[in-house]
């Protein structure tokens, strides 16, 4: 959380002059404001509202608390099984003290299974279809700690959602672990959690 990703202004949906003129016509009475002035006010107000909303909501309000996690010495077969059963594309890896040691995502599996620069699961499918079967399993005996991304990207419970979104964009990741001051796992915030929170007006 030390790097400060460059600020990208969020733009309000564009309004046409016609939209504003028609809206002004719907309001009976003379409004002494031009459509141009209104557009300017709207643009600035929209940006402020977005900033206020995203500043107000913090990680602990939108994080998923019941998280499936694995240990550093969990065999990869079990890691994959856990991810499959829960339908998640990433899990945190905890050390013996319960601290977050790293994260494993689908992408890490793909990389380990010989797919160079994996974009998604289809990279693996393509590789399987082009070669004689998918026996590229040098990872069968490996454990979670061998392929996990470490150290994990973590945020505090009070980190604003806006900053988390910036971390996602800056690091090209899809989830962060939320930890307490000792580094113990409290939950996970994924891109989906942010989308859900936005839909519900900030309440999870």
């Amino acid at each position: 959380m030390t790097d400060n990703p460059k600020k990208r202004p969020i733009r309000a949906p564009d309004l046409e002059d016609e939209d504003i003129l028609e809206a002004m016509q719907e309001i009976t009475g003379y409004l002494d404001i031009t459509p141009g002035d209104f557009k300017e006010v709207y643009r600035l107000a929209y940006r402020r509202a977005l900033e206020r909303l995203s500043r107000a909501v913090t990680a602990k309000e939108i994080m998923t608390r019941e998280v499936v996690s694995v240990a550093t010495d969990t065999p990869l077969a079990e890691v994959a099984e856990a991810m499959g059963q829960r339908g998640v594309s990433g899990v945190p890896v905890l050390d013996q003290a319960g601290k977050v040691a790293g994260m494993i995502s689908e992408k890490d599996f793909l990389t380990q299974m010989g797919v160079l620069e994996p974009k998604n699961f289809m990279s693996l499918v393509a590789r399987c279809l082009k070669s004689k079967g998918c026996v590229a399993l040098p990872i069968k005996k490996q454990k979670a700690e061998d392929i996990m991304n470490s150290p994990a990207v973590t945020v505090g419970a009070d980190t604003p959602v806006k900053e988390i979104a910036a971390v996602f964009t800056a690091k090209g990741i899809n989830r962060v672990a939320v930890t307490d001051s000792q580094g113990r796992l409290l939950g996970i915030v994924s891109r989906g959690d942010i989308v859900k929170a936005t839909m519900l007006g900030g309440k999870s």
Binding site: D17, M24, T28, G29, Y30, P35, G36
Partner: protein, 180 residues
């Protein structure tokens, strides 16, 4: 740089839409009754005395408080505050600068605008109220600071009461947007 200076004169947006027939009607009715009330009292009771009630800047106020009632410029704070502040400034400037009337006229209006801005009471007819005192007759000048009470204070209160009554008769109108 110079290109931009002249380009700004071309304008950037469209004029706001016009209003419907009922809006025109209510604007007319309010202005007729508001100016009518002040004028009636003026010509029936005040005319012939040393006092005045009807001054030209009320015509401009009527445009705002009966014709553009949503405008911030038309709200009670601006109507009353703008006229009173400008009246006092007009009288003070005239007293201080007489007989340099050109300077008094320029300062009365420009100072009124500045102080109305500073006090969030900007009301365009205020500028006229200040100017009317400077350019006024012997009769007006005889009033001194009482100019701010009568005609200005009294006339403005009558116009405001008519605005409160008439502007709220229409189901589609409401006045004011705010008081303070």
């Amino acid at each position: 740089m110079r290109g931009n200076f002249f380009r700004k004169m071309a304008g950037t947006t469209k004029s706001p839409p016009g209003v419907g027939f009922m809006e025109i009607f209510w604007s007319w009715l309010g202005a007729f009754l508001g100016i009518g009330a002040v004028a009636l009292i003026n010509y029936r009771f005040v005319e012939g005395t040393d006092l005045v009630l009807l001054i030209g800047s009320y015509g401009a106020s009527a445009v705002l408080i009966y014709g553009a009632i949503k405008s911030p410029l038309a709200q009670p704070r601006n109507l009353v505050g703008g006229h009173l502040i400008s009246a006092l400034i007009g009288v003070a400037v005239y007293k201080l600068l007489f007989p340099h009337l050109w300077l008094a006229a320029a300062l009365a209006v420009s100072l009124s605008i500045a102080v109305m801005h500073a006090t969030k009471t900007l009301h365009p007819p205020g500028g006229a109220t200040a100017l009317i005192y400077v350019t006024g007759s012997q009769k007006i000048h005889h009033l001194g600071f009482f100019y701010a009470v009568l005609p200005v204070g009294a006339g403005v209160i009558i116009m405001l009461m008519v605005a409160l009554l008439i502007n709220n008769l229409s189901p589609k109108r409401r006045y004011p947007e705010f008081w303070l």
